[in-house]
């Protein structure tokens, strides 16, 4: 029995006069205009103080309007399709909060309602790693999602994002993190400093594996797994600030390295810094967050600046001093791009990515908003 009827019966309701506000319909649930605008971003709240209750918030980086949110389980991931109005959230639940049966899911949301379209059960060993974009990879035609597993043996789950079903699990022993490299190809980095490239057959099983020579000196100067991609090239950055491009065609392979900082800057120990320290614009601009006075172990310290490069010319275009020290960065992909910086105050600063000016700050977007995803 709804109490509301009871309440209404107990209170006389006047007939609305002309100036009187009308009664309003219930239920009433907002929708989101589609397609999403170029400057709408998804902010990932890791929720470290309540890890089992994380969230993704959709915010307009221009107006700072909060458009909606998706709740997620612990150590969640998100991938946004551009060819289909869907979002794929990787998440882990226990049936009784912090205990009980574990369920791992890729949960599919539509962009107009942020409502669940499908819950795809996957093997209950998806990697539970602090927010990291390379925990998952949406392959280039967006019909396959690769989800890293870690227990601590490593494998990947292959998901059919069109059919909304789990296809297969592929072992990647000794390797971890996944990077899209084609319609049916991804690669992963390995503990010996090599990369492993995997081609899927049409069904989703591994059709071919190609292992590179070791090219990362993990002990001396490892490449961070927090990379960014421009067209056919992934850009990885080493702790010391070397850029390692990896071309994905015809088979992923490392090409010539170059340095972010000049010798003087390297002497001042300007190094990449922050959590997710790379972002890339499709026009060829590579963004890397940096800090001076680096030391052994400084690689997760917050960043003081964002440096902007022409990745092709390997030349720096701009230094953007951050108004507030930064943790993670992202850039929108349009022609008037915004640089988003998740800052150390738990807010997101919005900069003009071309001029480097701070435009405004988005606040109240979760307890520990550690990562930003563009949506276009």
């Amino acid at each position: 029995m709804g109490l509301r009827l009871l309440f209404l019966a107990a209170v006389a309701i006047a007939a609305p006069a002309s100036a009187v506000l009308p009664s309003e319909p219930v239920p009433n649930v907002a929708k989101i205009p589609v397609p999403w605008a170029a400057h709408w971003i998804v902010i990932h709240d890791f929720a470290f103080g309540s890890l089992i209750d994380s969230k993704f918030s959709l915010v307009d980086a221009d107006s700072r309007t909060f458009l909606g949110m998706v709740s997620a389980g612990q150590f969640a991931t998100v991938n946004l399709a551009s060819t289909r109005r869907e979002i794929y959230v990787g998440e882990t639940y226990h049936s009784r909060g912090s205990r009980g049966e574990r369920t791992d899911l890729v949960t599919v949301y539509d962009m107009e309602n942020l409502a669940i379209v499908a819950e795809i059960e996957i093997p209950p060993r998806r990697a539970n790693i602090v927010v990291n974009k390379s925990n998952t990879a949406l392959l280039d035609d967006e019909t396959r999602l690769i989800v890293l597993n870690f227990n601590p043996a490593t494998s990947v789950s292959v998901i059919d994002t069109v059919g909304h079903k789990f296809i297969d699990e592929i072992a990647i022993p000794g390797c971890a993190m996944v990077y899209a490299a084609g319609k049916r190809r991804f690669f992963t980095l390995c503990g010996d400093g090599s990369l492993l490239s995997i081609e899927l057959d049409e069904g989703g099983a591994a059709a071919a594996r190609t292992r590179s020579e070791p090219f990362i000196d993990i002990d001396a100067d490892p490449l961070s797994e927090k990379a960014a991609r421009i067209g056919g090239t992934w850009y990885f950055i080493s702790y010391a600030g070397a850029v390692q491009p990896i071309d994905v065609e015809p088979t992923p392979k490392p090409t010539q390295r170059w340095w972010l900082a000049n010798p003087d800057e390297r002497a001042a120990a300007w190094r990449p810094a922050g959590w997710h320290w790379t972002a890339a614009h499709p026009d060829g601009r590579l963004f890397v967050s940096m800090a001076p006075n680096g030391y052994q172990g400084s690689h997760k310290d917050p960043a003081a600046e964002v440096w902007v490069f022409d990745a092709q010319k390997q030349s720096r275009l701009l230094r953007i001093p951050l108004a507030t020290a930064g943790l993670s960065i992202e850039v929108t992909s349009d022609s008037a791009p915004r640089l988003l910086v998740a800052n150390v105050e738990g807010k997101v600063d919005v900069y003009d990515a071309t001029k480097g000016e701070l435009l405004h700050t988005i606040a109240e977007v979760g307890e520990t908003p550690y990562m930003i995803h563009r949506t276009n």
Binding site: R4, P16, L21, S63, N113
Partner: protein, 181 residues
């Protein structure tokens, strides 16, 4: 659902974040938010989001109707005289709509609030929105006419996410049902 805190409270999780290394603090020191005790009014609070620009933490909204005055993202909006919870206007909904993907509870608590534009008292239904976890934005608690739980329809401590698929609370709306005599 309402909340007891009429005033700003401190999240202890802030305190939980520490560092043993000082090397970076010199860099970020000026922008770290601290645990010191400060007098703080709502107006001041709103301006702390971006000291550089003086902007409010949450952008202002308007109903667009002079007959429905005020800012639905603010706790002093007239309809919220009996609300307790996160304002859906700050969460992707509006003062009378739930955020996308949530479900509006069919069961509610009801209050009457005076509209300053016409001086009339309106019957307001505080429908909770359900199925996603705490929105966390724009917490607002006002207890005009609030009664104890044993008069539930006039109490705002209850999670009204009932009769919905999920009983998890996301935020609260304030829907006009009509005018009260």
């Amino acid at each position: 659902m309402r909340w007891l805190d009429r005033i700003v409270e401190r999240s202890l999780r802030d305190v939980a974040r520490r560092s043993s290394r000082r090397s970076f603090l010199s860099l970020v020191g000026a922008s770290i938010v601290g645990g010191a005790t400060l007098p703080l009014l709502p107006v001041a609070r709103a301006s702390t989001a971006a000291p550089a620009t003086g902007e409010r933490a949450v952008p202002a909204q308007s109903t667009g109707n002079p007959g429905d005055p005020g800012d639905p993202t603010q706790c002093d909006y007239w309809r919220y005289c009996g609300i307790d919870g996160f304002l859906c206007s700050c969460c992707g909904g509006t003062q009378n709509a739930c955020p996308p993907g949530t479900e509006m509870s069919p069961l509610t608590w009801v209050g009457t609030c005076e509209n300053p534009a016409d001086g009339l008292r309106y019957i307001i239904s505080y429908n909770d929105c359900c199925g996603k976890s705490s929105c966390g934005r724009c917490l607002c608690n006002r207890n005009e006419e609030d009664k104890p739980v044993y008069r539930p329809h006039a109490n705002n401590d209850i999670n009204w996410c009932m009769g919905t698929q999920s009983h998890v609370y996301n935020c609260s709306t304030a829907v006009i049902l009509g005018t009260a005599n």
